[in-house]
Symmetry: C2
Subunit: 130 residues, 2 copies
């Protein structure tokens, strides 16, 4: 079924959400929000190997949440906060739709007799989407 050979071709939104789904990664982001840091600095508090943290940083980098610059042999990591907007925009859109729906429901309720059923019988022929 439609094999996507581009395994890394996940959409940006998926990458960001997925990157932030890991508590260690979220902690890294939180600490980077305070200020830039190097791998060894970042890895120090955790009891995992430096390589593991490096992998985490790469996931964050692939998601666009973080950038690394070159400075001698160090690679200071910097948080790119703009990517957050991608998420918040998506979230806000869904939330607003949901709220709009409540308003609409309110409207409908004001207009209805007494035979309300919150869910229509709904034969599967209802053109649900796309």
């Amino acid at each position: 079924m439609t094999e996507r050979s581009d395994d890394v071709a996940a959409d940006p939104l998926s990458r960001v959400f997925s990157a932030l789904a890991d508590p260690t990664r979220r902690d890294l982001v939180a600490r980077l929000a305070v200020g830039d840091a190097t791998l060894s600095q970042l890895a120090e508090p955790y009891d995992v190997s430096v390589q593991a943290v490096s992998k985490h940083l790469r996931v964050l980098e692939d998601a666009g949440l973080v950038t690394k610059s070159r400075e001698a042999q160090r690679r200071p990591v910097h948080l790119e906060a703009e990517v957050f907007d991608l998420m918040t925009k998506w979230i806000e859109r869904s939330r607003q739709q949901a709220e709009q729906r409540y308003r609409r429901l309110d409207d409908v309720l004001a207009d209805l007799p007494a035979d309300v059923d919150p869910l229509p019988p709904a034969p599967p022929t209802t053109g649900a989407n796309p």
Copy 2:
């Protein structure tokens, strides 16, 4: 059996982010934001099995993003938009810290001589980390 509690003791934030990391799940949420729907309605547009969509809904349910009610043999699915706040709060906190950091950096730059190094040598023994 009947172990309603999650054996996966992941924190709520991880569950929400992880649930939204899948495009199909995100699409489900977007459609549920428009209005409640049943499994078969939700599954219809996708070319995967109904069971797969049921699994997706369970993930969303475990994340608290969705609730199912009982209505005859149907289980209308309802979006619980409040859980979004968990994410937005976390995101906003990180973003605000990052912005605060820019202001602070501005302050520091105004106060410094010429010997500035944006990143300290940072020996691992110093409690330099946040």
